[in-house]
Symmetry: C2
């Protein structure tokens, strides 16, 4: 049996989702993967970092989080106000980085990831910021310290996209990518295609928890843009700056445009795309996030509601499409779990 000591930084929806899976999947991990995971530390922004040498009790942590009580109420823990200091002082085999995405400077996630890799910890992450802004730097740092950095959960949650691209299709060369990478906007556009108003649907999506109170990151395409940057790094080995991606959100899509598309047998989708370009100008990649009217013969056109989808054009496989959930507590936790299992094989 392999014993791994895990730290989870960021204990919101995603961090809790992973923790919940570690409880529910404990027997499966032992029986199928010969793997035993001990959660030794957890941090959130409000209560700081807690550590317990012999392992934290996950049900206790989940109950504290549900009741919005301080994590320090967990019995027998050491406490640091600052997660970075706590992580440096205590370590472990794997960091699961699950703090919120920040596309300005990727903090605090990027500091957590740098610290973990530098001290020889593997990292699995659901945080889009660090990978969107600095994938190549961080992957090089992981290589330098002989540890893995995996990020399945950053694109389409636990739907296997990045591992499928780099491992499942290993040896194939990526030519282009097109994807519906944001569930909130797809939910809104799907409802608009059925005749509803943008404002109504947005309000409903907010009430159901599909959209944030401030929906800018979703509806203006920033979330899809972050995932596009990650795909550029993972799929093409190329770091794009956010401003190198043409970006147009869905707020400009009118009811009239939507009606016309439906009349023409098309569906308007927020499409993220990357295309290798042959004339090497400033960048060898053309990257775009924009609403496009797709014919129904397009495999992305009928992907409705909060579902996500991605189509890869590969040299040896022509076109491969993957459709699946793009968000959610357990769905995103699943991405971290699969990465953790992959790390365990080599750790």
């Amino acid at each position: 049996m392999k014993h791994l000591r895990l730290s989870i930084l960021g204990f919101g929806v995603v961090g809790q989702g992973l923790a919940e899976l570690l409880v529910g999947k404990r027997t499966l991990l032992q029986q199928h993967f010969d793997l035993d995971v001990t959660l030794v530390s957890v941090a959130n922004a409000r209560h700081g970092f807690i550590y317990c040498e012999k392992g934290l009790d996950i049900p206790t942590l989940l109950a504290l989080a549900a009741q919005r009580q301080p994590l320090t109420n967990h019995p027998g823990v050491k406490h640091w106000a600052n997660a970075l200091e706590g992580l440096r002082a205590t370590g472990g085999h794997i960091l699961a980085e699950a703090t919120g995405t920040n596309l300005r400077d990727a903090e605090p996630g990027i500091s957590h990831i740098r610290a973990a890799l530098t001290q020889g910890m593997h990292v699995v992450t659901a945080n889009k910021g660090p990978l969107a802004l600095a994938a190549q730097e961080l992957l090089a740092l992981a290589l330098q310290h002989h540890v893995q950095l995996r990020m399945e959960a950053t694109v389409m949650a636990g739907t296997p996209v990045l591992s499928t691209l780099t491992e499942g299709m290993a040896g194939a060369r990526l030519r282009s990518v097109r994807g519906i990478l944001n569930g909130t906007t797809n939910y809104i556009l799907s409802a608009m295609a059925a005749g509803r108003d943008y404002a109504d649907v947005l309000a409903e999506a907010q009430a159901q928890g599909y959209a944030e109170a401030d929906p800018t990151a979703d509806v203006e395409g920033y979330d899809a843009l972050a995932k596009t940057l990650i795909l550029a790094a993972v799929g093409f080995g190329h770091t794009l700056k956010p401003e190198q991606v043409f970006r147009k959100g869905i707020t400009s899509v009118s009811r009239e445009q939507m009606r016309r598309a439906v009349d023409e047998g098309k569906r308007i989708k927020l499409v993220a795309s990357l295309q290798a370009v042959s004339d090497f100008g400033e960048s060898p990649l053309e990257a775009r996030v924009e609403p496009l009217a797709l014919p129904l013969s397009d495999p992305l056109a009928r992907v409705d509601g909060v579902l996500n989808a991605i189509t890869f054009q590969m040299d040896t496989l022509s076109e491969v499409t993957i459709i699946g959930p793009g968000a959610g507590r357990l769905q995103t936790g699943q991405g971290l779990l699969a990465d953790l299992i992959a790390v365990a094989k080599t750790a």
Copy 2:
């Protein structure tokens, strides 16, 4: 640089496809995967087994195969009439098993695979027979000899299905599978949906090389059945016997049934399915291959022509669908190549 010595048994379309990729991808394998592959032996049924200590010249082999000349015309080779004896006498790090599928007794592939695993060689295979009939025996044999047995190319060619299931979604539990796993029948059914006759389309598919002169294995559902057996073993850890799968081919689909389905907004597809059943009778799995009329809201309904698709129901991910090519020289070779790269990581 890791140097691997490879044997390819079976040098038809699939074996040649892998060989072609090894030439075309040589630089990529070296640069991205730090991997150098030397093809040391090849066999086909007609000319037996050839071996060259310092490596065979792949372009020479491909030219001989294209001209239907004996492989023994390759300069400087040792020759065995029997592939099994040749393999035992010469060895290597990896066997790529690419002989034809035989669902009666899985020979000669199963003997090749057993011999390779027993002598400590990793195996990657595109041959459905051995995995359909004896997946669990062979996987146990691989485990016993501390080598890998990988089979991505057996289901949907190089479209990443099996690795996505076991690695990309590691930790998730499979509840059910539904797939369009045979390109020939999907090509025929797609054309019939457009109003054409079964016999006409079959003749055309045969002329274009999509269907065999004897189309039984495809149109009666045996090919899809073999893949269903492999999915049962890989996805559920359960070996089904062929006779435990309900099987109905497409020859009984009438023009009238097809027209009625289209009128109702449905598409008839040859659907392979596996479903975990709760009342444990003879088998914990219900397995079926049969033509079904699917509503257009089903992600499988609009998968047309020779494309294949599979939908997994997973506990943590609800539904994940993968669409891609299901056959072809380079497409199947790609599956073997990805497996070979995965083996190299641990070899």
